[in-house]
Point group: C2
Chain length 166, copies 2
């Protein structure tokens, strides 16, 4: 009888160890999954973009204010999944640097292009375009507007769901 | 005798499980440690900077080549710990955006300033400066040179160990 009890105790110990091991593995997998879904923020999120200029939740923070020496505006936009800018254009063009996530960029009349971490986009002066996140994953991007003495941005109408889903 | 052998087998099994668990924990700790010391790369590392222009290991990748429309040069530099640029100046100034790590920036005649992830530095036109990593942690930075029609960069002498350690 004693032998049986100690045997049961040992088996219970083994079961406990296996469970503990598995539980650690599961926790690790959950942490890795969370990391993969969240973007690696470089800057504070900033202020929510106006519903007049953006569809969905987009947050903007200015990094370099316009002045007469650098004549350059720089900022960071974080688009939550599904969020995008209205159609707009820049008198001197715009450079986008994607620092994390996955999104879309479209120049009017051209196909939507998928943009992701590490991509760089140059949009020529006075060309209508929009940019934003993919439906599933957010987008984090730095924008650079050069030669601001020519103007910064001309905002236009919203990107419809039909245009976004094409 | 049989009882002893099965007891030894069970104890060996327990020992194996404990070792396996510990080994997993150690591996996880090593991965987390490596993640903490390594910067979150956004772009490919690029090419090693010339020893004529940099002290230590610095890697540069161009993101936007100069053209007559955007008149802006953009690139990414990754400085390994201890690495720094030579003294240099820009005819139209330079904007630095720190995307990860910790480093230093100094405008000649001013104190060395510590720069880190999320910081933005504006260095005025024709002012001598240098930038690089801290001795312990690397630095990842995007540079923006505006108004390239005025020139891009004038390289000068190396930053001595005495200047770097001040």
């Amino acid at each position: 009888m004693k032998k049986h009890i100690s045997m049961i105790a040992i088996l219970a110990g083994i079961f406990f160890l296996i469970t503990a091991c598995n539980s650690n593995t599961k926790k690790r997998q959950e942490i890795m999954k969370a990391d993969k879904n969240e973007l690696n923020a470089i800057f504070p999120k900033g202020e929510k973009g106006s519903a007049d200029l953006f569809t969905g939740n987009a947050y903007n923070i200015g990094l370099v204010d316009v002045d007469s020496v650098f004549t350059t505006a720089v900022g960071n936009v974080f688009f939550e999944p599904g969020a995008r800018s209205n159609w707009h254009s820049h008198p001197a063009g715009q450079i986008l640097i994607i620092t994390d996530g996955v999104g879309y960029h479209q120049i009017e009349g051209q196909a939507i292009e998928t943009i992701k971490k590490g991509d760089v986009v140059k949009c020529p002066p006075n060309v209508r375009h929009w940019h934003g996140a993919s439906p599933q994953v957010g987008l984090q991007q730095i924008y650079i507007v050069p030669n601001t003495e020519k103007g910064i941005v001309d905002w236009q109408e919203a990107v419809t769901d039909e245009q976004y889903k094409k």
